[in-house]
């Protein structure tokens, strides 16, 4: 389905995850973060960069992997994104929802 994000029509799935990563930009990211009541700080952006890098490398994400990323530990990850952190960070990063149980 199509959703207007930051004034642009963007294709998203039924859970609101972007379908085409190539459409992602910083304005979209900020608007999606606002929707989820997150004020983006430099720490958030570092993590977004990491998540997008992993996506480009086709490397699957998990909570454990984020904890070993060297960017944040798991505790800080939950502080940055208190509500469903892995889903939230991937959504605002414009990458698919990770199919991870861990």
């Amino acid at each position: 389905m199509e959703k207007i994000i930051a004034g642009k029509p963007i294709m998203v799935n039924e859970e609101g995850f972007m379908i085409n990563f190539s459409e992602w930009d910083c304005d979209i990211c900020e608007e999606l973060a606002r929707e989820m009541e997150i004020d983006l700080t430099d720490r958030h952006w570092e993590l977004i960069n990491y998540v997008q890098g992993e996506y480009k490398n086709q490397s699957p994400l998990s909570i454990r992997k984020i904890g070993k990323s060297g960017v944040v530990d798991i505790k800080e990850f939950y502080q940055l994104f208190p509500n469903a952190p892995l889903k939230t960070v991937t959504k605002i990063s414009g990458v698919p929802k990770p199919a991870s149980c861990i």
Binding site: P60, S62, I63, R64, K65, G67, D73, I74, K75, Y78, P82, N83, A84, P85, L86, K87, S100, C101, I102
Partner: protein, 150 residues
């Protein structure tokens, strides 16, 4: 999600931990209550040596007498751990750290602690406390709280 763990076979401990962690990943609060043999999962000297049950486990597809041979549990555990590493499943000590960092509360059952003569110092340092079953029920009050027994 309130999860009671009463057994310490690896298959039970992992089920409880994955469920608790999975709840936190969805933004759902999770607390674990360790009772009876489940206490092994937070016992400092035992948590690294948990085994999978080869006897009395119909899914092992192994005659009970074979499952009871010396070394069978260790072998099955080793094989299972290898598979778990492939799916990025952490070992028990690391998993407990992940749960704590994710905000999962860990409680030990007072009655079982007394029965096994365990003391606070025997248990995982970051344990949130030792509770009676009544205390745990109190924490589970309210609409929409789910409780699981493993």
């Amino acid at each position: 999600m309130m999860i009671i763990l009463s057994k310490a076979g690896l298959e039970n401990v992992y089920a409880a931990f994955v469920l608790a962690n999975g709840a936190r990943m969805e933004g759902i609060e999770a607390e674990l209550f360790f009772t009876f043999f489940g206490l092994d999962a937070i016992h400092k000297k035992k948590l690294e040596h948990l085994h999978i049950a080869t006897v009395g486990n119909p899914s092992m597809n192994m005659p009970t007498m074979i499952g009871g041979l010396p070394g069978m549990e260790a072998l099955a555990t080793k094989m299972m751990k290898k598979e778990m590493e492939k799916v990025d499943m952490p070992e028990v000590p690391e998993f407990i750290e992940i749960l704590k960092a994710s905000g999962v509360k860990l409680w030990a059952c007072k009655l079982a602690m007394d029965m096994f003569h365990y003391e606070r110092k025997d248990m995982y340092d970051d344990l949130d406390g030792i509770l009676t079953v009544g205390d745990f029920y109190k924490k589970s009050e309210g609409a929409g709280v789910h409780m699981l027994f493993i």
